[in-house]
Point group: C2
Chain length 435, copies 2
């Protein structure tokens, strides 16, 4: 808990409560405050006896030697970047619990069979550079290094900084190539807050994560015509914002039909004047579902609905009551990011489950008994473990968070819930090392 709140001094966000630590976080990837958190990671893990290296995406790897150092380390880790209005636990808990693991191993003179290690991945959030899990994706070979280096900051809109220029600026463009061969892993375990309401609602302490749902990110561009709001009749308009509004509503209706999710988090328009009908709108679209097929179907349905709406046709009853226009808008799609459904590795899932059983399975307080302490679950959010899982066995540990809220300053897990997760993380790594 001390590490969490120490590192959260760098990049403090909005206040949501009265207590000293009741503020959120705003530590965008590769910002000055992200550099401060990285420096802390480097110094702390070095002081704990690790050998630390940085790769070409700024990923930080801290390795604690084992008895036999010819094999790859078993890793615990997550990320230290946050959303612009994020909280103190998303990612941060995973890294600080992994550092705590190093301390517990040291304090107890534990010699693991093989090395153990901690990783801090760059730009997991995809908030500042709009590809989530960018740097673990480069490490796994799924995202080309150059594509990642050239990603432009989207906060604020039209910022010209790239991942590469920011890595250089803050001194984290490492010399080690970014790939799974240069920084090999025997396994990857990640502790994370659930970011959803299930564990809390069902009063369970630990989520044993079997996989992650499928998702895709798009940038949708709508072009119309700038015109005067007072002198242009509805019939003569090509209103890019009205059309984008219909599209956002349509994506919600389409996703609802499939019991899935579609969301828009970014919207920029031009020119941005009260009395000019906007001729240009660009917005993000994030589509998610447990199955890849469902995501693809929603994408296809949205594509045809958006085209129809741009052309002024009635779909999903959205046009009913609108004034038809003799001018059309155009719509273009760009795919920013694709993360297919992920199934974690059985050995890692078993290690997590066994470690959780060790912690919660007997001698329970508050009447929890074996079986009801935890839950096998699928993550709604993406995590670096998705890409890690492509190159080594991986799994994750979830702990409950209040109200299921994340990507929000008031995101909160209690010290006890964090400690539960840290204990299971340690247990899973030690078990896997033995395996």
């Amino acid at each position: 808990m001390k590490d969490i709140h120490t590192t959260c001094e760098w990049g403090k966000g909005e206040r949501w409560g009265d207590a000293e630590t009741e503020t959120g976080m705003s530590r965008l990837s590769l910002s000055d405050t992200d550099k401060q958190a990285r420096d802390w990671f480097h110094e702390t893990t070095t002081a704990l006896g690790c050998k630390v290296h940085v790769d070409a995406m700024g990923n930080q790897f801290a390795v604690r030697p084992g008895l036999n150092n010819d094999a790859a380390p078993t890793y615990a880790g997550s990320h230290l970047d946050t959303q612009p209005t994020g909280g103190r636990y998303d990612g941060i808990l995973g890294v600080t619990a992994a550092v705590e693991m190093l301390r517990v191993l040291n304090d107890n003179w534990v010699e693991t069979a093989y090395p153990t290690a901690v990783v801090n991945w760059t730009n997991e959030e995809g908030a500042r550079f709009a590809k989530s899990m960018t740097a673990s994706g480069v490490w796994s070979g799924d995202i080309p290094l150059e594509d990642a280096h050239n990603l432009k900051s989207v906060i604020p809109a039209n910022d010209t900084a790239t991942m590469r220029s920011e890595l250089e600026r803050i001194g984290y463009l490492g010399e080690v190539p970014c790939n799974w061969e240069a920084s090999p892993m025997a396994a990857h375990f990640e502790l994370h807050i659930e970011q959803g309401p299930i564990l809390e609602a069902e009063n369970r302490r630990i989520g044993v994560v079997q996989g992650v749902q499928s998702y895709k990110w798009f940038t949708v561009t709508v072009r119309g015509r700038d015109s005067h709001t007072g002198a242009t009749s509805f019939q003569h308009r090509a209103d890019a914002l009205l059309t984008a509004s219909k599209m956002i509503l349509a994506s919600h209706k389409i996703a609802s039909k499939h019991g899935a999710l579609a969301s828009t988090g970014i919207l920029n328009l031009k020119p941005g004047s009260t009395n000019t009908v906007p001729g240009f709108v660009q917005f993000s679209l994030d589509i998610r579902a447990p199955q890849d097929d469902t995501v693809n179907t929603i994408e296809a349905d949205c594509k045809s609905a958006f085209s129809a709406l741009a052309a002024g046709e009635d779909v999903l009853n959205i046009q009913a009551g609108c004034t038809p226009s003799s001018r059309q808008c155009t719509v273009d799609w760009h795919t920013d990011f694709v993360s297919p459904a992920t199934h974690f590795h059985d050995d890692c899932i078993a290690s997590v489950q066994a470690a959780a059983q060790d912690l919660c399975g007997s001698g329970e307080v508050s009447g929890r008994d074996i079986g009801s302490w935890g839950k096998l679950m699928t993550s709604g959010a993406g995590h670096d473990s998705v890409y890690a899982n492509k190159r080594c066995p991986a799994s994750m540990i979830f702990v409950p968070c209040r109200d299921g809220v994340s990507h929000n300053p008031s995101e909160y897990s209690s010290p006890e819930q964090c400690a539960d997760g840290a204990n299971v993380l340690l247990g899973a790594v030690v078990r896997y090392d033995k395996l």
Copy 2:
């Protein structure tokens, strides 16, 4: 035409054609380029023999003496500021034609009975400071000076410059009080492009403007809850952007029902990340109709529809097919600007009509005959003449613009159309002076 294109070197906007002058304008009020245009106005009118003064809102008044200088001058004028993606005619034509009037009077040794004058009003567009016709509104006593001085720049969002700080910065915070007593007018005539399609469609040369429709501007704020796009079900969301999209659509449907206009030109959201459901959206709403009553009815209808949408109720069939949420958004309204329907003064309308008759009424080229050359019309857009009309007789002259397009870089009126307007402006001022 030379003055138009000379002054349009300051604040050049987007290119839309190949010819040298085929670019739009982006000369926001009180910007550095607006200062350049103002300096041109001062030097040019001074060189033409006028006495020029600047008031506390930066309005520039250039007075050409008459035979009897004990009475107020008859004014021609408009504004030199533009939209962020504006054209070369909106406002600019009105000022340059008024300056041309001074030249014609001088060149022909015309001695008017009373003084004639030209005015350049500050921030007519309301683009940078979101109250249109701000400085004529202060002059007429309708907008308190302090309110106007404290208006914040809305481009870019969160700019901290105010009208007062910008007036000071560019050296146009004049010492003359801004009001109709310190800078009295006998009458106010304004030449403007129509900004709509009627004159062109009906093949008429001159619009004799009898009045301006009613309009109101609002800022609508929607608050929800930041949350994770992948881990938060639709049921648990308070999605401020989805809700704002529904509101924009609802305002369009409500205005359609009344044969009126509702438009959103500005939309800002927070936090602005692909994978965070926005918890905050703020957008502009511009409602217009010929009658004040209609504007008020649309405002009331939108207020109840927006509240219902924020609460998740079905209105105008917008919610059908959406997933109901157990969380609500809140909505707040702020009224930024009110401009009731305006009826210009009969004497001024008659002067314009007579001057237009002089120009077009006989000896017509291209087969136009008396009666078909012009049209009595109401303006869809607001103009400084609205406020001028509160303190002196006023009217306006419209000329056609291509495709009826304005607030767009490709806004265009031909040199012949501009000359028609300038001739009628001169004629109307001279006639009124005699009156």
